[in-house]
């Protein structure tokens, strides 16, 4: 089909553009991290309380930290070329193993957060636009301004106070009930219950953004000639909104969603800490404090992969939503 070929072209262009981007990200990340004072050996020595020059030199040699930075970079790149992210000096296990344990949790959290942000944001924005200037619009605008301006960790804490402590509806942290031995549907429901609060805290900021964006887009699209055409056909208001307005209003919203993905990943660090969620964000945070740069580099590399993949998906979604998107 013509349609599929167009989507394939969009996909190919995005992938080709991703290769130099990723290479640049790796090198830049590596050099920036090397600029920071201290390394894993320093942190370890600090934790031991004391260390001789010889012990330090031995540690550095073992972790490959004793050679010049450029050589370290080349060693890292050659490792990568063999699909290895290196070893963690801290845990003494391959970085890929550490990341592999944490990745699914973070992915689930992000997908859930994005779904909430999209679903709720678009619904909110449409509701605001359809009642523009009247009291539901005013109230929802205030609510979205509130979500927009308060920090995620505070929302997280407040949600815990309300739903876990006061109402006792939802668990306050972790990603499953430990030792419950649940299986099948019960297990899935248990995981879902644990996910609701962290995902919501992560999403609310973006709900506000998408809400405001959707409101503006729906208002703009509503005044377009083709919406009047749809009304002249005799379509009821709901069909006009769903078929003709929202589909067009989604275009600017999806464009931004791709950009926001990196931000959501950053926000995950805070939220995962608040909810003791065993994800990548916390792993990254811990590796910063421990100067465990191999792990941190691995997380950063994977994050850039995630963002690029997500952007590709958004590009495809965009091309699917808007037939005018063509490869130039």
């Amino acid at each position: 089909m013509l349609e599929n070929r167009r989507l394939l072209r969009v996909l190919r262009r995005t992938v080709l553009q991703a290769v130099p981007t990723i290479l640049g990200i790796i090198i830049l990340n590596f050099l920036l991290l090397k600029l920071a004072p201290g390394d894993a050996a320093d942190v370890m020595a600090g934790e031991f309380g004391a260390a001789t020059e010889e012990t330090m030199a031995m540690l550095r040699q073992r972790f490959g930290l004793d050679v010049p930075v450029l050589q370290q970079l080349l060693a890292y790149l050659s490792n990568l070329a063999q699909f290895s992210l290196g070893q963690s000096p801290r845990y003494g296990v391959p970085v890929s193993e550490l990341i592999g344990q944490r990745l699914p949790s973070t992915l689930m959290l992000m997908v859930m957060a994005l779904a909430i942000a999209f679903g709720l944001g678009i619904a909110l924005g449409t509701a605001m636009a359809l009642t523009a200037g009247r009291w539901p619009d005013r109230v929802l605008s205030l609510v979205s301004l509130f979500f927009y301006s308060v920090p995620g960790f505070w929302i997280g804490l407040m949600l815990i106070v309300l739903f876990s402590v006061k109402l006792n509806w939802l668990p306050s942290g972790g990603q499953e009930t430990i030792g419950a031995g649940l299986t099948g549907l019960d297990y899935a429901l248990d995981r879902l219950k644990h996910m609701i609060l962290p995902a919501t805290s992560l999403a609310l900021f973006y709900v506000a953004i998408y809400g405001r964006l959707t409101r503006a887009a729906v208002l703009e699209v509503s005044s377009q000639d083709y919406v009047r055409t749809a009304a002249a056909k005799g379509l009821p208001p709901l069909a006009i909104t769903l078929r003709h307005v929202i589909r067009n209003a989604l275009l600017p919203v999806t464009t931004l969603a791709g950009i926001h993905l990196g931000g959501i990943l950053g926000g995950a660090v805070v939220i995962e800490t608040v909810y003791s969620w065993p994800g990548l964000g916390r792993l990254a945070f811990e590796s910063v404090t421990r100067r465990d740069f191999n792990v941190l580099l691995g997380v950063l590399l994977l994050s850039s992969f995630l963002v690029i993949i997500a952007n590709t998906l958004v590009d495809l979604l965009h091309a699917w939503l808007d037939p005018r998107v063509e490869v130039r």
Partner: protein
């Protein structure tokens, strides 16, 4: 004269500031083409939108009635009105480039009307859409049906709009400046098409235009609108040959014509001095500020559109009186 299909009487459309259409009335008979003529801002499009009941939210119909096949459209509940739109009265717009939804194929947009009003299945609606595209002379309709609007030219898009409008065989098609955005060569094709469809489908056509060239060729009857009030109404031929209202005269003098009798070989086209904006707060005839033959009596109250002879209506008492005098002079 054929039976009245649409009967608009004393229609007044009010906005918070100003009434762009005041006490306006006209009728369209079954199968008739009526041109509504006037310059930008004279209220032509608002009148059309009022008939469809698609006026902008801030607008209000202050008075009047719109009779259509024995019902007053203004009194119809909204769900019933939705059954009129697209099925009994359809409308096409000035700007074909923006009047189609860019993210839906033209086939889907045509099928939408059919599925809504005739309850066709997706498959049947698609088949009928292809037939309709063929009817409006789109080449390769079975391919074009899956095209998105941005792949079609302006003329093609207007054809698609027309296919959409006539899909349910409406009794009345309102065409709001359907050719203004198109090339001159395409204009004639589109108007030919509208006229052919009018005959074949037995519908009436309300043709909104500011182009008097179109009027002479396509309209049965003409309504001249100035500043939201009817100025003159007559059959197309007599109106063009013998315009009575000073505004109609000015309009004709300002139009280039191939017709030798009204062609001003001696020089540039004449223009009507002033602008329509001056009509805003005129208590009397809205044309007074631009009228060469205005009398003090013209400034008192807006003149009504009155029949001065069979099938000829005029809203200019001084001219009417003069006509009367001429007629009796000839009669004597």
């Amino acid at each position: 004269m054929t039976a009245k299909l649409l009967d608009v009487s004393s229609l007044t459309i009010a906005f918070p500031r100003g009434t762009p259409v005041a006490d306006f009335g006209f009728a369209i008979g079954e199968g008739e083409t009526v041109a509504v003529v006037g310059e930008s801002g004279s209220g032509k499009s608002l009148t059309a939108l009022a008939i469809m009941r698609l006026l902008p939210r801030t607008a209000r119909i202050a008075s009047g009635s719109i009779g259509f096949r024995g019902r007053d459209l203004l009194a119809l509940p909204e769900p019933d009105m939705r059954k009129v739109r697209g099925r009994e009265i359809a409308m096409i717009f000035q700007e074909p480039m923006t009047s189609l939804n860019p993210v839906l194929t033209v086939g889907k947009q045509i099928a939408e009307v059919l599925r809504l009003h005739e309850g066709l299945s997706a498959e049947a609606a698609r088949k009928r859409s292809i037939e309709l595209l063929d009817l409006v002379r789109v080449a390769d309709p079975h391919l074009r049906v899956d095209d998105f609007p941005h792949r079609l030219s302006g003329g093609m898009r207007q054809r698609v709009m027309i296919a959409m409008a006539v899909a349910c065989r409406p009794k009345l098609l309102i065409a709001d400046e359907p050719t203004t955005a198109l090339d001159v060569t395409i204009q004639a094709q589109v108007l030919d098409l509208l006229d052919r469809l009018r005959r074949e489908l037995g519908m009436a056509l309300m043709l909104i235009t500011h182009d008097l060239g179109i009027v002479g060729q396509w309209a049965d009857r003409v309504v001249v609108l100035y500043a939201g009030r009817g100025a003159e109404e007559a059959d197309a031929g007599p109106l063009l040959e013998d315009p009575l209202h000073p505004y109609t005269k000015g309009l004709l003098a300002a139009s280039p014509r191939l017709d030798a009798r009204l062609h001003y070989t001696a020089g540039a086209l004449r223009e009507i001095p002033g602008s329509i904006a001056t009509a805003q707060r005129e208590p009397g005839c809205p044309f007074v500020p631009r009228c060469a033959m205005a009398l003090p009596s013209c400034r008192i109250s807006p003149p009504p559109l009155e029949e001065i002879r069979p099938r000829r209506l005029l809203a200019c008492p001084p001219t009417a009186a003069q006509e009367q005098a001429n007629a009796s002079a000839v009669g004597r």
